[in-house]
């Protein structure tokens, strides 16, 4: 038989199947629906029941709800606190009192606003950057232990270096975003970001290395467990201070917000982002701030460990983590109200001339301490 005959036979067979068999199949399927739907529901229930912990982790605490709520509450608190520090009232009429709906109003407005894509921009990268920006710090947050058995992403005892690797990937995105927008202000802003990250990240990594050395482990849970007798903020006080300054520098918050300096560059690498894209870049700032703050708490302030009252330690709980987070955030916002912005060269001098030698000194002191402990 030749090919044409084969094709015709195939088509005829198809028509025969459609006329004779297909209706039967459909009827069978419809008949089995009453049993199928409960089975699907049962499967869904089993899925939720057996994966309850990871689902709760993804959706609630280190995951989506926590990050979004943190960003919203932090923005609202910052605006209100800043206003109070300037003897103003701050957002007031939006929401019945205290302007607690202000952030939601801002987000809705940004969401429904037109966003402009410049003609000269690299469109794919320009649109991808705002999505990638909050995602990468959020990935790093999955490694943080919120309790000794509440870790979303188990990196096999290497969670500290994996955290630093993922968080070290984050500054690449603003650089690409600034380049993709093809505007002189965004280019200058993104290069400033690069300078800032290089000068800030190295002291941070050295401090984290000292902390890991003192604990004798690269796992964040074990680093927290090693702080049970004494929080690491006391044995490595220099590292504590350097990491605190470095975390503000990494999150590009106000004493070091050189890349988004409003009076020099328009608003740095964010200049061309408008509408919902801008909303995502603003969220990314708070997400990366959250990530570094959580690492700071885990490394120096004892993570989920409660303070010990008169030698009697309190229970370990996520609550302690959140309390410490709130305290650190309040202090960082307070710093924003008090200090003006440093220039670019001053920031770089701070990074290379002060933070870097201090972090090396801290590493050296930790080595001596560890040696003394081993003897």
């Amino acid at each position: 038989m030749d090919v044409v005959t084969l094709i015709w036979l195939y088509i005829l067979g198809l028509v025969r199947w459609l006329l004779k068999e297909a209706p039967l199949q459909v009827i069978n399927f419809i008949r089995s629906l009453p049993t199928l739907i409960p089975e699907l529901l049962k499967w869904l229930w089993d899925f939720i029941w057996f994966n309850f912990k990871p689902l709760a982790q993804i959706i609630v605490i280190p995951g989506l709800a926590f990050i979004l709520l943190f960003a919203m509450i932090a923005v609202w608190f910052e605006r209100k606190f800043l206003a109070r520090a300037m003897l103003r009232i701050g957002p007031y009429y939006c929401g019945k009192r205290s302007g607690w709906l202000q952030v939601i109003a801002d987000f809705l407005k940004l969401f429904f606003k037109e966003f402009v894509i410049p003609d000269d921009a690299e469109k794919a990268l320009f649109l991808a950057a705002p999505v990638l920006l909050p995602t990468i710090p959020a990935l790093a947050i999955t490694l943080i232990p919120f309790d000794s058995n509440w870790v979303l992403f188990d990196a096999g005892g290497l969670s500290l270096p994996v955290f630093l690797a993922i968080a070290g990937l984050a500054p690449v995105i603003p650089i690409f975003a600034g380049w993709a927008a093809n505007n002189k202000y965004t280019i200058i802003g993104s290069f400033r970001t690069a300078y800032l990250y290089v000068s800030g990240e190295i002291p941070l990594v050295i401090c984290a290395a000292a902390s890991a050395l003192l604990a004798g482990s690269l796992d964040l849970v074990e680093i927290v467990e090693a702080q049970r007798p004494l929080w690491f903020a006391i044995p490595q006080f220099i590292g504590f201070l350097v990491f605190f300054v470095g975390l503000i520098l990494e999150a590009e918050r106000t004493p070091f917000d050189v890349p988004t300096a409003e009076t020099e560059l328009v608003i740095g690498w964010r200049t061309e982002f408008s509408g919902v894209l801008f909303g995502f870049t603003m969220m990314a700032e708070y997400v990366s701030f959250l990530g570094w703050t959580l690492l700071f708490i885990v490394l120096y302030l004892g993570g989920y460990l409660g303070p010990s009252l008169l030698g009697v330690p309190l229970y370990d709980h996520i609550f302690w983590m959140l309390l410490k987070l709130a305290v650190v955030v309040v202090i960082v916002v307070l710093i924003r109200t008090v200090y003006p912005r440093l220039r670019l060269d001053q920031t770089l001098r701070l990074g290379w001339n002060y933070l870097m030698p201090l972090s090396l000194l801290n590493l050296f002191l930790t080595l001596i301490l560890k040696w003394g402990l081993m003897i």
Partner: protein, 157 residues
Amino acid sequence: MAERFAAPIYGVIDYLLTWARKFSIWPVHFVTGCCSPEFMQVSGSRFDMERLGVLPFASVRQCDCIMVVGVISRKMGERVKYLYEQMGEPKFVVSVGACPTGRGPFYDSYATVAIDDLVPVDVYIPGCPPRPEAIIHGLMLLQEKIRKECGFHAGKE
């Protein structure tokens, strides 16, 4: 039929949308003249305009509103147009003071223009210079205007 069912949904979205736009006006201030001290007072501690959700902003792309404060000469008028065209779509113009509204004391000069010859103006705030209360009143009028006119049904009634 479809419209009858869709109308309440549109109403809810309209309500949320206009509410959100009303309470987050981010103005870029285009300050060329001496009404600016009064304008600074508006964001100061006595007449706090952040109560209304108005957040002064330095960049144009993210803003919703231009506050034109001060004399607009012919050369500066081009820049107002540029700024207006760089903003995203729901955008408003507030003319603060006598100069942008009607050329003010320089009415007979060859070099000045009124702002409504260049861009569509939403709210005029009179005064030479207007007091901070007047500027806040103007912003509240703008809020009312957004509430009434900035939804999906804008211009249909």
